[in-house]
């Protein structure tokens, strides 16, 4: 597993671990086809196939799937899974309090906020003196719709790398929302369709609009309805939301801001809006060609993932001596770690959507 070229590691040589009673990190967590597996604790983190015991970082569908026997996650993540899959998405569930330690077969587990979406958590796994933190997806930018990321000291930090290239630098989200509002003022006869993922991004965009003083009703696609309601019950005020259904004809939506899942805007659903300007709230919008290919007229660079600067700053903050890089552009982040003298390797996990943001 360990590449011999990596000499920066300050831990004792791995072959000494059994003698010293230290757990080798790769014996504590390693990839399997089902997902990231912990043999001593007999559980998976964010498994992509049904398993006996699953720990779930957050409610996005590529991380949180239905059909596991038991699921351990934050209460909000469990609620969101219930909304998406129905109450019987798993045989048994257990809610993890943030910061609280739970012991599974001698392995200590704790959940810590990841700042990704409502309920999202990093999972710290500790056994025989070795602590690994699996970040799940995370970001560092302020977000009024979820608890902020907390850096956790650890030996190994498993980081996501969705935007793991130096080109990805997310601007402040308030600037992006200001551009949306400016465009809405510039083109009052057109509607602005904001494509945003149904869990997290959509609610964040709505909340940002409210924080910017936008007080007109926001029209939403049906796919956003239940999750947005749930956010409101969790104390996140999104203001007046109305279904984007046709009643009085197209003029209803002149000057309106409509939020829906990106896929809906390519669909026949979008035909009800007058001369719409398609906007897409995503970190991918940093790259012009991505926006152009998708027919996006107003890209909004709003991401729920860490950008390059956040990724590299977080790696340093965790104090981890070894970094495992997963889903995304692993090679650039591994290269950066090498230049910084931090041991790093890609962790090839299957089944996560590279495009997710």
């Amino acid at each position: 597993m360990r590449e011999s070229a990596v000499t920066y590691n300050r831990l004792p040589a791995p072959e000494l671990y059994p003698i010293l009673g230290i757990m080798r990190a790769s014996d504590l967590l390693h990839p399997r086809p089902e997902g990231l597996y912990c043999p001593p604790g007999d559980f998976f983190i964010d498994p992509v196939r049904p398993v006996n015991r699953a720990l779930i970082t957050h409610g996005h569908s590529d991380h949180a799937r239905s059909g596991h026997r038991s699921v351990l996650a934050t209460q909000q993540t469990l609620d969101i899974m219930g909304l998406r899959y129905g109450e019987n998405f798993a045989d048994t569930t257990q809610a993890a309090q943030l910061g609280e330690t739970i012991v599974l077969d001698g392995v200590s587990i704790s959940f810590h906020p990841a700042g990704h979406v409502l309920g999202s958590a990093q999972i710290a796994v500790e056994h025989q003196g070795t602590r690994i933190v699996a970040s799940g997806d995370y970001k560092r930018q302020k977000d009024a719709t979820c608890a902020p990321f907390e850096p956790i000291q650890c030996d190994v930090f498993i980081t996501e790398a969705t935007f793991g290239l130096p080109v990805f630098r997310h601007p402040p989200d308030t600037e992006e929302i200001a551009r949306l509002l400016k465009s809405a003022a510039q083109f009052p006869e057109r509607s602005h369709l904001v494509g945003a993922y149904a869990l997290g991004k959509a609610q964040r965009v709505m909340r940002l609009l409210r924080d910017a003083g936008y007080d007109r009703p926001i029209y939403i696609h049906g796919a956003l309805e239940r999750l947005s309601e749930y956010y409101q019950t969790q104390g996140i005020d999104l203001g007046t939301l109305e279904p984007a259904t046709v009643e009085g004809g197209k003029q209803d939506f002149a000057g309106a801001v409509v939020v829906g899942p990106p896929s809906a805007f390519a669909d026949r659903w979008a035909r009800r809006f007058p001369d719409p300007i398609s906007c897409f709230a995503s970190g991918w919008m940093r790259i012009r060609q991505r926006a152009k290919q998708g027919g996006v007229e107003l890209p909004l660079i709003i991401s729920d993932h860490a950008d390059w600067d956040e990724l590299t700053a977080t790696i340093k903050e965790t104090g981890a001596e070894e970094i495992w890089v997963t889903h995304g552009r692993e090679e650039a982040l591994v290269r950066w770690c090498e230049l910084e003298g931090i041991a790093a390797r890609p962790l090839h996990l299957v089944g996560y959507e590279d495009e997710g943001d």
Binding site: L165, V167, Q186, R268, G295, E297, W336
Partner: protein, 533 residues
Amino acid sequence: MNRFAELLDRLVLTPSRNGKLTLLTDYFRSVGDPDRGLALAAITGDLNIAAVKPAMLRTLVTERMDPVLFGYSYDYVGDLAETVSLVWPQTPGNIPNREPTLGEVVAKLQAASRSDGPKVLAGLLDSAGISARFAIIKLVTGGLRIGVSARLAKQALADFGKVDVTEIEELWHGLSPPYTALFAWLEGKAEKPRNSAMALFRPVMLSNPVGDGDLEKLDPADYAAEWKWDGIRVQAVAEGGIRRLYSRTGDDVSGAFPDLAGAMDFSATLDGELLVGDPRQATGTFSDLQQRLNRKTVTPKLQQQYPAFMRCYDVLQIGDEDLRALPFRERRGRLETFVGTLDPSRFDLSPFVDFADWQALEELRRAPPHPIIEGVMLKRWDSPYVAGRPKGPWFKWKRDPHTVDAVLMYAQRGHGKRSSFYSDYTFGVWSGGEGEEELVPVGKAYFGFTDEELKQIDKYVRDNTVERFGPVRSVRADRDNGLVLEVAFEGLNRSTRHKSGVAMRFPRISRLRWDKPANEADRIETLQALLDR
């Protein structure tokens, strides 16, 4: 700088013409001098920054970051200017309290010498944010590629000042950045700028197509007819030693036609068609002409192989005498005498087409004597030369378009109002021997159908999708399945870019042939025969 950067970002992603005009007029309204004028110059290609070269960029950036990480980044983004703007390391101590204005950036770049160019550029990039860095790099590399032509920018000026675009075009070549006097006039704060420059463009007179029933109301005796040559419309202006060839919209194209400009040893303004060949012997085809188009410079070999000449059909000015108010009959008389004094290998007269009545002309129109004729022009004998497109004095009566039955192969989602519709269609015709027929794409069209037909095709595309590639779907198209489209087009060029070897000019969907089986669509040989004519 940020306002300009934002304008570029919006323009490049806004497909609709009206949307672009709104963005531009808003910018002109809300940004002061000299920034708006410099932005205008950048868009129209009239801003020159000599000392800073694009090749410096890569060196500058790899001096500042790990070349491997830069390589990964460039591979991913694919565009050097964009990559550099994104990865340029921001040194916290270097950021000034405010970003530089466009005026300051341009001043610094233009003042830079060849030796301190890289340092000046790096300093500017240090002081700017991501969007502004991209804009600075675009200024340096030239060619903004934001989908805004000089013509559109002039239209935006006209909208902004509520004047006719021909007024802008007429003034344009006498003005220079940052166009302060022009903006002052457009805002009603000053008189219209007086143009003292030489060899200016005069807005051209345009024709209307002959519509149904138009001719019945007209007396053939009131009109002269000429062949409609399928070259490019040019205006040749020579005055006070300055010689210029202008396109229909007032763009200076002299640089691409030094051979023709070299023969303009006169003082006059002529209107005509630019063609290639030797007018005394043979006129080249459109494919020949294409060899000379869209080039900034041209080699001697090309000039020799495809010499440019002008087929003159009007004269606007001779010496100091403005002839535009004279009737066409008189201008034509003056033109004939004048062209007689010019180099006959570079200038000739557009000949009249004799006809007794509309029926006779119709027959001539249908069967023109030369492949580069695309119809006839009708001009009222008594018409003065008026800028724009007045209805009545000039008509164009085009040859009927060619049509071909092709099979729909790919469909792409449209933009704006059409963003939920598959509205851009790539179609093909059959090639290959019996039993081995396959479709080769021959063109792409996105108009010609009604809204109702668009809905029908959209449904067909969704129901018959084979594969998806982003916004593009490939549609089931084989011998037994497929939607046949009757495609109309104006002409065919040889193409080395397309697998089929042909490229259509101005293709559009003329009819949906729901009734026609796919295997009865046309074959590539039908198109090749058109090429060889």
